[in-house]
Point group: C2
Chain length 201, copies 2
DNA sequence: GGCTGCATGTAAGTCGTTACATGATTTA
DNA sequence: TAAATCATGTAACGACTTACATGCAGCC
């Protein structure tokens, strides 16, 4: 996973750009976005917030809006330095940016960057997946002799999933390219129903 | 990720049941199977092998087959105790078993267990994914007011991917159920082309 | 003769989880 | 008033990665 520390920082900065928030709330949102699996623990989040406070990336909000409900809680907001750092991190389009978690976070905050960056991240991600696919299929061809049926099925399913993801990325890339001109708005055509009505348990 | 240590142990034991191997080879295969992302490093594998040696789960093979090419390498094979441990781990059908990596490994070695276990793992995995889906969609309904287009697209794609996986699991479960009688063979109907011809970069 | 790939290992450090500890507030 | 949830934090621990160190073997 490498360097999720930076991932958390980026995510926190991004969320706080959507409005001041306290730690508990941040954790909930964080788990919702990178939540397709592991949960982020307090033991991770709070130290990270402390660190960001020390680095002046975020600061505590003076007066909490409501005069009632004076619960013990610390609301944070980004500082100017934090905004700078956020932009810097978002424009870092190296290999680290196409890693699973890092990619998701960047994508989530794509509205905050311009099209050039978006395209580079999207394309980088796509070629990384493509490489994975090629590598696996190459090695698969070598080993394929006596394959276990379950092993084979797992491979098949894995390859298929990645292929779908590649197509998804290609669609997004085309959408970005098609939106030439306005470099920060409406890049995504309605791909499907906004609220999927399936998942009837 | 929690407890990948056990995952590695299980994977190594499983692979060694398919024949003796040395560390380097193990790593290659391991990366191929759980390789949809992070690579397992030597700093992880070798200490794990040492630990398994100490625990008498595996042992060094005396004479390497070929009389030529006497390269420095240590070939391992499972002991009886290792086989026992492998069976034990494979029949552990708790929440840990439906975690991403753990599930993949177990599935990969499904041929080594009986149908009862397979079904429990498959069903556990499915209901875990279902829960994730429900939780996200419930919370999504609450937050959905002013959603960022990219954030929305990410959610949509995520939900769709998990839904596909649920369908995949359901198919597998039906296949297992349909194969009543022979509890260890031919559970999977040919779902598609064995070697997918796509992926023309 | 040098580069690349095979092969094994260790040490240090990072990152994050688990478990613990505490307490306020809302709801049944 | 008890239980659930909100809310913040720390200490200990574990797992894995990075970087380092070493050396053989095959190929150009």
């Amino acid at each position: 996973m490498a360097r999720r520390g930076e991932t958390i920082e980026l995510a926190v900065l991004g969320l706080l750009h959507e409005g001041p928030m306290h730690g508990y709330e941040l954790r909930k949102r964080l788990n919702l976005m990178l939540g397709w699996g592991r949960l982020l623990s307090y033991g991770s989040l709070y130290p990270a917030l402390k660190k960001m406070l020390r680095g002046n990336l975020i600061e505590e909000v003076a007066a909490p809006a409501g005069p009632v409900s004076r619960r013990q809680r610390i609301v944070y907001q980004v500082t100017d330095k934090g905004t700078e750092e956020f932009s810097r991190l978002m424009s870092e389009v190296g290999p680290a940016a196409w890693e699973d978690d890092n990619f998701d976070i960047r994508f989530r905050f794509f509205s905050s960057t311009d099209m050039e960056i978006r395209l580079r991240v999207l394309e980088g991600r796509r070629s990384r997946l493509q490489e994975r696919l090629d590598r696996v299929q190459r090695e698969l061809a070598m080993t394929q002799k006596e394959v276990d049926r379950y092993a084979a099925e797992l491979q098949r399913h894995g390859v298929e999933s990645v292929e779908r993801e590649v197509r998804w990325l290609s669609d997004l890339i085309n959408a970005e390219r098609g939106a030439q001109g306005h470099s920060v708005a409406k890049p995504i055509p309605p791909t499907q129903t906004p609220t999927s009505p399936s998942t009837s348990q």
